[in-house]
Symmetry: C2
Subunit: 519 residues, 2 copies
C-alpha cells in the first residue's frame, strides 16, 4: 500500500468525470499533491539493540530502510493521510520486525521488555483511529511488529465448523485458503482487501455481511496470545460459565495486552448462491423502521444497509455513477442473500414481504450488483478527493433503536456546525441488531488551509455529541489514540481503571502499543 494513499495504486483512478464536475461545483478544486518525497527520521534504535533483535528473528526479518518503515507509519485515517501528505513522518518506527510464528513473536516481546522498546503490532495497517500511533517517549525505540509472515491456515475442524488462522492473513488470503476447503468466513469490512485476521480480532471489526455472518467478535471461539508474561490460550467451548468471558477482553484489546497469534473462528460453507438487490424507500425513517422490524423478527438478510436521503442522492453506493442524475430520489437500501439456493429464495421472499408491507419498493438486482462491485472502493475515491482539496472522512456509532433518530440528528448537527457551509454529511445504517443499529457517517467538506485542524475539531464535536446522546463512540473502528479522550465517558472511570489494571498485569513494563486504547 502507498504510505499516504489507500490500497492498490493500479486501482486508484482519480475522480470519475461526473464526480469531478460535482466536486468543482460544490467544493471548488484545489489540487494538493502529496509530498511523499520527504525523508524519514533516521532509525533511532541503537546498533546493539538492532543486532540483538536480528539475533531473535534473523537478520532477513529486521528492516530499517525508509521504504519499509514509511509503509508502517500510522494507519489510513484522513488525519493519518493528511499528516503523511504534509511530509510529517515523525511517527515512523525505528525498525520493522517480522516474526514467523508464535514463538518468535514471544521472543520479540521478551527482547522488547529486556530493552524497554515500544512494540506496535501491525497487520494490514488500515487503522482509522490512530491505533498504530504509539507513544515513544521514555522508550529505547519503537518497532513495528509486522505479522506479514504469519499467514497459515493452521487447521480446519469440519465437524465443529471452525478454522484456526494466523493473524497476518489478509481478508482475501484467508478467504482463499478457506475456499480451497469449501468454506468461508464471510467477513467483509470495507478494508477487507488489506486488513488482517489479527486486526479484525484486535479491533472488533464488523463486516458488510455481518447481518448474516456475525460481527468478527461473534465469530471467534478461541484465541492464542503472546503477552510479555507468556502465552495465553482461551476458548474451550462455544460458551461457558467459567467466570467472565476473557476472550472478550482480548477482542478489542488493540495490541495493548498482547499480540494475537492464532484466531479460531466459526466458518460456513461457501454459499452456492449470492443474490443482491436494491430497494427504494420514501425516507430514511421509514426504511430504518423496516430494518428494525426485520431484526426484531429474526429475519435478516446476509447484507442489509440503508443510505439516508443525502447519501442516496449522491449515489455513493455506486461510485462510478456519482454525479449522475438520481431521478427516483429517496433512500436506497441494499439487501443481499447468501447460501443454498432454496434458503436464499425462502429468506428473500420472507424479507421482501416485510419490506413491501412497510413501504419499500424493490428496484431489482442492478443496484445490488453495483454495490457489490464498488463495495471496497470508497477509500480510493477519498484519495482522489483529497488530491483536489476536498476533505473526506468517515465516522460511525451505534445506539439502541429508540435513540436512533436523536443520535442521527445530533451527530449530523455537530458536524455541520463545526465544518460550516458547503459540508456534505451522508449516513447509512449497515449493521442492525434486535435492540439497535449502527450509524455510519461520511463527511465531505472543503479542506481549507488547515484541513487537519478542521477535521480534528469536527471529529471532537461528533464524539462529544455521541457520548452526550448515550451512543457508543465507535461501532467497529476501535479506540486507538483518536477515540481515547472519549473512552471513559463510555465505559466509566472504573472501566478505564480496569483496563489499566489488566494492562499492568499482562504488560507490566508497558511495551505494548503504549498510549493506544488504555486511558
Amino acid at each position: 500500500m502507498h504510505p499516504s494513499r489507500w490500497g492498490d495504486p493500479a486501482r486508484a483512478g482519480g475522480l470519475p468525470d461526473g464526480a469531478r464536475g460535482l466536486v468543482e461545483m460544490v467544493f471548488g478544486v484545489h489540487e494538493r499533491p502529496a509530498l511523499d518525497a520527504v525523508t524519514l527520521p533516521a532509525s533511532g534504535l541503537a546498533d546493539d539493540l538492532l543486532e540483538s533483535l536480528r539475533a531473535v528473528v534473523g537478520a532477513d526479518h529486521v528492516h530499517t530502510d525508509d521504504a519499509t518503515r514509511r509503509l508502517r507509519t500510522r494507519g489510513k485515517s484522513t488525519p493519518d493521510l493528511l499528516r503523511q501528505r504534509s511530509g510529517d513522518l515523525d511517527d515512523a518506527p525505528d525498525a520493522v520486525v517480522r516474526p514467523g510464528d508464535h514463538e518468535e513473536v514471544a521472543a520479540v516481546l521478551a527482547w522488547a521488555v529486556q530493552h524497554h522498546v515500544a512494540v506496535v503490532p501491525f497487520g494490514g495497517g488500515t487503522s482509522v483511529t490512530g491505533g498504530l500511533v504509539a507513544r515513544r517517549e521514555g522508550y529505547a525505540g519503537l518497532v513495528s511488529l509486522d505479522l506479514v509472515r504469519m499467514k497459515r491456515l493452521l487447521g480446519v475442524d469440519r465437524t465443529s465448523m471452525t478454522a484456526t488462522l494466523e493473524p497476518g492473513l489478509r481478508g482475501p488470503e484467508a478467504e482463499a485458503l478457506l475456499a480451497a476447503e469449501g468454506l468461508t468466513l464471510g467477513h467483509y469490512p470495507q478494508s477487507f482487501e488489506h486488513a488482517t485476521i489479527g486486526g479484525f480480532a484486535a479491533t472488533r471489526s464488523s463486516g458488510q455481511a455481518s447481518a448474516g455472518y456475525g460481527r468478527f467478535d461473534a465469530l471467534v471461539v478461541a484465541l492464542r496470545v503472546a503477552t510479555p508474561r507468556g502465552e495465553w490460550r482461551l476458548g474451550t467451548a462455544p460458551a461457558t460459565a467459567a467466570g467472565p468471558d476473557l476472550r472478550q477482553l482480548v477482542l478489542g484489546s488493540e495490541g495493548a495486552f498482547g499480540v494475537i497469534t492464532e484466531v479460531t473462528v466459526r466458518v460456513r460453507p461457501v454459499p452456492a448462491e449470492r443474490r443482491y438487490e436494491g430497494w427504494r424507500w420514501p425516507d430514511f425513517a421509514t426504511g430504518t423502521e423496516a430494518m428494525r422490524t426485520l431484526a426484531q423478527a429474526g429475519l435478516l438478510p446476509t447484507v442489509l444497509r440503508l443510505s439516508d436521503e443525502a447519501e442516496s442522492g449522491l449515489n455513493l453506493a455506486h461510485p462510478d455513477a456519482i454525479g449522475q442524475e438520481n431521478a427516483d430520489g429517496a433512500c436506497l437500501m441494499i439487501t443481499g442473500y447468501e447460501g443454498e439456493p432454496e434458503v436464499v429464495e425462502a429468506r428473500r421472499a420472507a424479507v421482501a414481504a416485510v419490506l413491501e408491507a412497510r413501504g419499500g419498493r424493490c428496484v431489482g438486482a442492478e443496484a445490488g450488483e453495483a454495490w457489490v462491485r464498488g463495495r471496497f472502493d470508497a477509500p480510493y475515491l477519498r484519495d482522489a478527493l483529497l488530491d483536489v482539496g476536498v476533505l473526506v472522512e468517515t465516522l460511525e456509532t451505534a445506539t439502541f433503536w429508540s435513540r436512533r433518530e436523536a443520535v442521527y440528528d445530533v451527530v449530523r448537527s455537530a458536524l455541520q456546525a463545526s465544518l460550516g457551509e458547503g459540508t456534505l454529511v451522508l449516513c447509512h445504517v449497515s449493521h442492525v441488531y434486535e435492540t439497535g443499529c449502527s450509524l455510519y457517517f461520511t463527511v465531505a467538506t472543503p479542506g481549507g488551509d488547515h484541513p487537519l485542524e478542521r477535521w480534528l475539531a469536527a471529529k471532537a464535536a461528533a464524539s462529544d455529541a455521541m457520548t452526550a446522546a448515550g451512543a457508543t463512540i465507535t461501532h467497529h473502528h476501535a479506540v486507538g489514540t483518536d477515540h481515547k479522550p472519549w473512552l471513559t465517558r463510555e465505559i466509566g472511570e472504573l472501566g478505564g481503571s480496569v483496563l489499566r489494571a489488566v494492562k499492568a498485569d499482562l504488560d507490566p513494563t508497558g511495551v505494548l502499543n503504549p498510549g493506544v486504547l488504555v486511558p
Copy 2:
C-alpha cells in the same frame, strides 16, 4: 426455601411409587432424615458493627435471627444439602442485610470496606457450585447481602425491545412484570422459580429455551454495578468496538467484582403459541448429529434437548412416570417452538423435515407436554432420593462438536470409575451452538457412609476429565468455590492473574465474596 431442601415444601412429594420400587431395586433404601434442628453458630458480628449497619439500611432490614441466617447459608448443590443435613451450618452469615436500592447497596459496601466485613451477594440462593460459601477468616464478620427488596421493573423500551430489571426479581416475578407489558424474557433455567435476575447475570445462566431466546449473557445489553470503588455503568449500544467488552467481565463475575443492581435485557413479545413435542432416536449419536445439523443450518427450535440412552430409559424427562416401562426405548428428544402461530408452524415444519431425514421419529405432543410440566421438578426428586440414602447430583460441561463424543465418554467413565458399581450416569444435550454443545450429566449412586466425600471425589474426577479433554468446567453453573481448583486449567495462569488484577482494582480490600471465583 427450606434450608436443606429445594423449593416449595408443598411441592416436595417424596418418591413416586414407581420410582421407589426402582430405587429399592437399584440402590437399596436407607432412610436418612435431615438434621435441621441443629442450632446455628451465634452471630459473630460485634454489636457496634450491627448498630452501624442498621444505621445504613434501617433496623428493619438487618436480620440476625437463626431462621433468616439459616436460609442464607450456602446454596443448593448436593454437597451443600448434605452438609446442612448433617447439621453443619458453619457457613451461616453473621447477619442478613437487605438494601432497598442501588444507593443502599453502595452504602452497605462502603460500610463493609470501612469495617472489613465480608459481603456475600444473595439472590435466589440456588448456586450449585459453592458460590455463596465465602471465606470469613481475616474479616470482622460475614454478611449476606440479600437483594430480596430490589424487585422493580425500572423501565421498558418498546422500540428497542429492552427492559431494565432489578436484581432481586425471581424468574416468575420478572416474567409476571414483563407479561403485564406483553413481553417475555424467555429465560427458563431449572432454577427459574427461585433464581433471580442478578444471579442469572452474575453466573452466566443458560435457560431451557436458550436455543430460541439466547443465553442470559447474550440477552444483557447494559448493567449497573455497585462496587467498593463506586458506581459502574456499562452498555451504550447493542455492540461496540470501544475496546474490550467490559459487560462480559461483569457477566460471570459472581459477586466478586461488584453487586449488579440493574440489568437491561433484550425482551420479546409474549409468544402467541407454544408447541412442544417428542422425538425418538435410535441412539444418542444419531440424535446429536441431527442437532448439529440444525444448529449449523441456523434452524433451531426454541427448545431442543436430547437425552442419552440411559436418561431416556429412566424417563427423567417425565418424573411422575419414572420406573414405568419405557417400551419404545432409544433416545428421547424434546423440541419446542414459541412465537406467532405462522412462525411456529413454519419453523416446526422445517425442523421436522431435517429430523425425519436424519432418522428421527416424531412421537407427538404428549412427551413434550410432559416435559414442560415437569421441567422445574427434578430438584424435588433429588431431595426424595437423598431422604432414602441415594446420592443424586448433576454436573455439566460444553465442548466443540468434534469432541462431543470423547468428552461424553471420558466424563461418564470418570464418574463410573470413581463411584463404582450401582451408579447411574445419565446425560442430555440441552444447549447447542453452531460450533458445539453442552453435556449435562445426572448421577445417582448409593450414598454409603460418607456420601459427601464420595461425591467430592467423583466431582474432582469428572472435572479432571473435562479439563484434560479440553472442555469447559461448566457451561452454565458458574465457578463458585467448587470449580475454582480447575479454573486456571481452563483460562490459564494468566487468566487467573487477570481476574486477580481486576478484583484488586474494583475491590481493593477484598470484601466481596472472598474466596469465590477468583483463583
